[in-house]
């Protein structure tokens, strides 16, 4: 396991503990589905490529028929069962993927640049704004991310590539590697 605890670099990198996540697929036009997931998380239903997140709860727009539901880890399994029950009558699928995902938070002055080094995404402030959810690749692995604010981003990926992602982030945020491309 690459250890992040002693890391000091252009941004702080933290592995987010106890984050639960459900994958929900279904018809976004269904009122039943919308009510069920917003009721579970307490946030509004997200529009295209939007992340609505409050604390450990949130809804991420993953595709036209896929949501990621954020919940405290301890609630995820029960919530998945309850949600599947609520959606029994509609075309939908619910899976608790908490164990299969890992979340990193990066925080600091050069968050945009750290992401831009790793993902084929235009991170210019005019193109990518906090609250947008983007699925892409970081290096060679699939990942999703959003910015909570100008200094903070959350990145999630498969837990099976956790060490690879931790390695990528620490290299991209190496103290001596600032390009200052987005500095205004």
């Amino acid at each position: 396991m690459s250890d992040l605890s002693g890391f000091e670099g252009l941004v702080a990198i933290r592995e987010v503990e106890n984050q639960g996540m459900l994958t929900v697929r279904g018809d976004f036009g269904s009122e039943v589905l919308r009510a069920a997931v917003t009721g579970l998380t307490g946030v509004d239903f997200p529009g295209r490529r939007v992340a609505h997140v409050q604390g450990a709860r949130g809804l991420l727009w993953m595709s036209p028929d896929e949501l990621a539901v954020l919940l405290p880890r301890g609630e995820a399994a029960q919530a998945a069962t309850r949600l599947a029950g609520q959606l029994a009558g509609v075309h939908a699928l619910v899976v608790d993927v908490s164990d299969a995902r890992v979340h990193f938070e990066i925080e600091g002055r050069v968050v945009r640049e750290t992401i831009a080094k790793l993902a084929p995404v235009d991170m210019h402030p005019d193109s990518f704004t906090p609250g947008e959810l983007r699925r892409t690749r970081f290096g060679q692995v699939a990942a999703g991310f959003w910015m909570a604010d100008e200094r903070t981003a959350r990145i999630f990926c498969f837990r099976s590539v956790r060490d690879y992602m931790a390695g990528l982030l620490t290299v991209a945020a190496d103290d001596h590697s600032e390009v200052a491309y987005f500095r205004k």
């Binding site: 490529r49 036209p64 699925r135």
Partner: protein, 112 residues
């Protein structure tokens, strides 16, 4: 480097975020068809120098399939549309006709 706008999630996705799926608008021939039709379905492709229609999947993004109309020589992209479309939308047709008068591809052409 190719950049396609994914019609499903709206992202301007560059090539490394996508995976190619070969020629678009194939007509599937299955059980009961003639050997010639099945061979054509499996193997015969346009492979054009110029206007082409291809299937692409936004593999690292939303995961959805879409179709891209582009020029294989200049890499100019004429447009993209969802894979759940049996023939190119009118606007794509018109854009290609404007830029490549007299174009044709498979059984499609600018005169249609």
């Amino acid at each position: 480097m190719l950049i396609f706008n994914c019609p499903h999630c709206g992202v301007a996705a560059e090539e490394t975020e996508l995976s190619g799926g070969g020629e678009a608008h194939l007509k599937r021939f299955g059980p009961g068809c003639s050997d010639a039709d099945f061979e054509g379905y499996l193997f015969t492709r346009e492979n054009p120098k110029g206007v082409h229609f291809e299937r692409w999947r936004h593999a690292f993004g939303c995961g959805k399939w879409f179709i891209a109309a582009r020029d294989t020589v200049t890499l100019e992209v004429f447009g993209t549309y969802p894979a759940q479309t049996s023939e190119p939308p009118r606007e794509i047709f018109d854009r290609i006709s404007e830029k490549r008068p007299g174009w044709s591809w498979c059984n499609l052409s600018g005169e249609a």
